[in-house]
Symmetry: D2
Subunit: 401 residues, 4 copies
């Protein structure tokens, strides 16, 4: 029997899948907010790895405040140009001096940002179409003795905070998540006209799902208006097909609905992201830790990207609660909806949350009592290995947005 304060209770609402109206959104990896999330997390990972490498421990840092100031662009069929560059300011704190060593935190941050951007938004010329600047204040310099190379102790919570996770995803959620991933994966690989800035919103009313896609097209690969129209239609068909794999409900897909072909007002970009023209971005304003924005579910306001994965309890508990929810649903049958909330208490070890409450909707005919022990055991086990989350974040294995 666990000594942890774990509660498993029936949820006090319907499963989201059964609610009448459901809204789900995802900002793709090329959206300005996601760019900031991605850079912040890339910088955090690079710092953590570098600290481990140099001093054997993850020192104090927090880089969860990257700000993007949009540029100005003049896209054109066949290839336009960025007129005023995007400005990206990496903001945060990092330990720069430790036991006589200097640690080049800003240089590390710039390198990580550059590599991340080059890889993620390949049409964006870093240093030319985007200026990357950095302001990292000196961190406290306190040793975080909690996460060294050799031995790992469980750190104390640095704050009263909480995290929340859900599983399983609803059909609409899976459609949005999968469609973005595959648009930015297999589809973009074959169709270079699709930029990384795709934003999807799913709205389900009863058994009908509308998926609205805003997809930035890359002008270099779009010779004319017909090609543009074809590109839009291809995206529509692709998303429709992806949706069909996840639901039997009726689905309508709408792509770039604000276009006005007569006026020549279409969603054409030079770089594949709307950051090039008027859309600013910052960390924590877009997707939650599970990659979605889900107003039907409780969400944490906490920005997960860029935070220190060793002791920032908001980050850890958001990732861990999602992890727990998925693990439970994987291992336990007959769960229709499940929410895990972890609430920390300052000064307690983070594997001992003040309360871990799990709210469950079981399938018809199944009693909560039938699965309660099994769930509790999984939660207990996952909490016991909380530092795995830290390790996986540092290794870049967990997505935070």
């Amino acid at each position: 029997m666990s000594e942890r304060n774990i509660r498993v209770e029936p949820i006090d609402r319907q499963a989201v899948e059964d609610q009448e109206v459901e809204i789900v959104e995802r900002k793709g990896i090329g959206h300005p907010d996601s760019i900031c999330d991605g850079v912040a997390e890339a910088v955090a990972g690079a710092l953590a790895r570098e600290y481990l490498d140099r001093v054997g421990e993850v020192l104090h840092f927090n880089t969860d405040e990257t700000q993007l100031v949009a540029g100005e662009a003049a896209p054109a069929f066949g290839g336009g140009e960025v007129v005023d560059p995007i400005y990206l300011l990496i903001v945060g704190r990092a330990t720069k001096r430790y036991e006589g060593q200097t640690i080049p935190a800003e240089t590390i941050a710039l390198r990580a940002a550059r590599e991340y951007l080059s890889e993620t938004i390949p049409n964006l010329e870093v240093g030319e179409e985007i200026v990357v600047d950095v302001k990292l204040g000196e961190g406290s310099g306190d040793l975080q003795e909690v996460f060294g190379e050799d031995e790992v102790s469980v750190p104390m919570a640095n704050d009263t905070s909480y995290g929340v996770g859900h599983a399983p995803l609803t059909e609409t959620e899976r459609i949005i998540q999968d469609a973005e991933a595959r648009l930015n994966g297999e589809f973009a690989d074959e169709n270079p006209y699709l930029g990384q800035d795709v934003k999807l919103m799913g709205k389900r009313e009863g058994d009908h799902i509308d998926v609205t896609v805003a997809a930035a097209m890359v002008d270099e690969h779009v010779p004319d208006m017909d090609a543009y129209a074809d590109a839009v239609e291809s995206v529509r068909e692709f998303v429709e097909q992806v949706a069909g794999e996840h639901t039997d409900r009726t689905v309508d897909v709408h792509v770039n609905t604000a276009d006005d072909y007569e006026e020549g007002s279409i969603y054409l970009t030079v770089t594949g992201t709307s950051a090039e023209q008027g859309d600013d971005g910052s960390v924590g304003r877009g997707n939650r830790a599970n990659g979605l924005i889900t107003p039907n579910r409780s969400m944490s306001m906490e920005a997960t990207s860029g935070k220190n994965p060793v002791n920032h309890i908001g980050k850890i508990y958001n990732l861990l609660s999602t992890e727990i929810a998925e693990q439970v649903v994987d291992d336990v049958d007959d769960i229709r909806d499940l929410r895990v909330r972890l609430l920390s208490q300052i000064g307690r070890p983070i594997d001992q949350p003040h309360v871990a409450d799990v709210h469950v909707v079981t399938e018809d005919g199944v009693e909560l009592g039938d699965v309660q022990d099994e769930i509790e055991a999984i939660v207990d086990e996952e909490l016991a290995s909380v530092t795995d989350i830290t390790r996986r974040v540092i290794d870049g294995e967990l997505s935070t947005f």
Copy 2:
């Protein structure tokens, strides 16, 4: 009978007041995130009024991305100093040229920010302890013919977005809200040692409420450790008293629990905000439009502060849904909990949301049917006067964070 798509339904969960665990948070006006919200909204209001004044219409702008980079300070009993200034970057778009006129958007923004900061954080010397910079790209220059001085037409939604509002507030919510307001009001007036950066978290488990307060003390007014301890105790007593006015539940108040007097590690500041030392901030990362962070309720991720109040549907619907919820609860008896969600559809007039759904928990013994028509009528009426929201935002009458 309204032609608007208004649905009034029972909520699919318990009233929050009846849930076992409830968490509520508020970042006070001096918190770095709130500073950004406040500056962004002050800038937006100033721009809107200036546009009205100069061209008779509110032109395109969006200033919802202010970023604060923390400074470094050396507080000391009796008065320390800011060592490295805070850096505040106002980011956004604004129309700078319109029909032959130039509009000094950046100058307006700087003035508004300076005035807001001087008034809100009086111990912070603007231009010396905080550098305020600005990067406003050129807005589209399209005339927003929707909100002129003389006639007001209802604009079309610019996006598919939604807003959500709740009423009535639970006891815990009212405690947190009221305590922050009065700490930063009457209490600070009499006790200048209290800084504006107070952060309150309420956690209710059953019938016990814990209120945790982090209160930045202003060193100039704190001569020594004893005075500090007294200040902390005064805050504690004051919050306890405020709480008592809102609940019969048991309440424990904890102030600056991370202090360690032995180590001299206390929450002392020069300026009254943690932005002076290591705490960065940005817009939309803190309080929701109703001034609270309420994980027990559905929340919108949309940043409300700094957005254009004429046509930014996320801003308008967040404010309007809160307004509607409060109006319903004011006018209709026997409502225990109520959530209003407004979902827009691109291209439809904003007084005609795609759906306005109202979920209600009535008091025991009251049927939803008894109040349904009354609620619908209020919603209908509020939607009809949606442009009032815009007017009140421009006049600075509505708080957005």
Copy 3:
């Protein structure tokens, strides 16, 4: 007999007063380059005084790199406005940590800049029409033990550098110098339409002098084109009168010659400086240490403003050589032209220059031998009291541009 290496020799050219063509220029205190010089020097003085005050010694700093990025303005008769603010970046190094004390170098710099700007360019609203930012790297932290409160030792030269000074000023030089001083003094006091950005160029060919003045007018005090024309004419008459006090040569004064009244192209400003519209500036690009640009004389490239007055040899020697030249001409009769050059050698005390060479043109009928000893004695004495220069710079008594 001095042990210093002082050489007094005949100059190898005519006195400048006797040369056929002479050019003299001065950028007034409101010129963008002068603004940078002035801010840099104000910051340096403030830092030096603060160091003395706090630790009893002037610590390492160097702030000679302020950069001004021009704004954009829309001046108009009766009062226009700044559309895009000027951006001023204070750049340099300063000691921020010393023997356990933190010294708020950036805060000090911002305050000094703000005060200097408010006083010098009163029509420029600091924080609204100009953003003042700062990037001061950490200085070396080495104690400069050379200039304490109580005892003053003579520091060693930090570099191989040189300074150069001249006296007496020629008529043309005196006209340019005096005209700028009095335009920005008595004239502006009575005529608020004159901005601080006046630039004067004198060109003498034989016995005719042309003085060309570019004078920024302040729109608030200029109701219309006639008033503007009157203002220009007043400036012209004033400068003509000043010139007449210094010379019997013929003088033509030309004011704002690039104006085109037909086209409405005139030199009207909101703030009194061209920095508001397109004219960038930086330190060391304008006037030399004696306040003039004199191509007929040898000049040092060294920026004098903003440098540390204790040990920066370029600054000290430029000021000291000017001081010496003036002292000699005050005390010794019959000197028509005189140039003092001081060349340092790294590691030698700065009162022992590698060579101090003085080149002299005596009046007709006077032999150099007649005055040589007297000159040498003055040079020797001035060198002996080199630290007076430092003291006077710190006290703000010496102008550096």
Copy 4:
């Protein structure tokens, strides 16, 4: 007979070669001031070429204000690292909109800067060890009809300004110039330990020349202190040998004299430039247009680098007067020293200077009258082809610093 106002007169001083004391300085291409000069000029050239390419004319721009804020580095034998990146701000004006076209001036500037830096300071990782930012205001947009692709008209002077040039170089000048060029050329090619930041000062007293070299060594190629000492000695020997090719006077070469091996205080860098650690830089603070700082000669304060080569008279006249001086000395025998000054007058064609005065020292036994006509003819011819200077600057054929 020319209609130009050309005067050829005896100089009113000795030839510099014959003066008793001579000082000459050159900041090598990797010095922070030279980096700024180089970037400013690279940006100017790129803009000019791009304007020609796009609209057939060089539009208004001026980019002569690049500012470099030094970083912080931790060099170490065998390879250290940059801890805080250098910050480089490109400042100026450029036409961004012209006849319906947008011209991506900032993107062009960033690209040019990046390419220049990568080529010139190869050990400096752009975007990682140096952040390049840009603030280019909108230029006036006036068409500069003066310099098109097809026809070239002679522009009017935009200012009253002057340029000055000298020839032939003295021995000391040639030593300094050649030594820097070859250190950064053949020597560095074979000895990668030598960084680009070499600063040379020559001081001649009578027939003895001291050359003081400050040479930044690149740590990656310097394994230990012995290797460092060898590197210093190699530089010394190389400069000694170069000097021997230019003079029969005695020469002493001193390299890195401020080093203190005992203290481990040596001139070791990561990137080959002192900009990495504490040395700020800006345009126009270093070398004059002929690549040297020559206090024995009259110099122009005008920054040549970064200015528009079509109509910026300060730039053109500095380059042209140097060109003329060199041409005269090439073609006319028996000239020992020669100074060319060109003075513009606003509104006159730039091939018609207000006055072109040439001051000459002939060899003993040669009368000025013997060469006067020849000189005048060359000056006349060079003035007639003034637009060649513009063309060659645009093509990057003329060095400006």
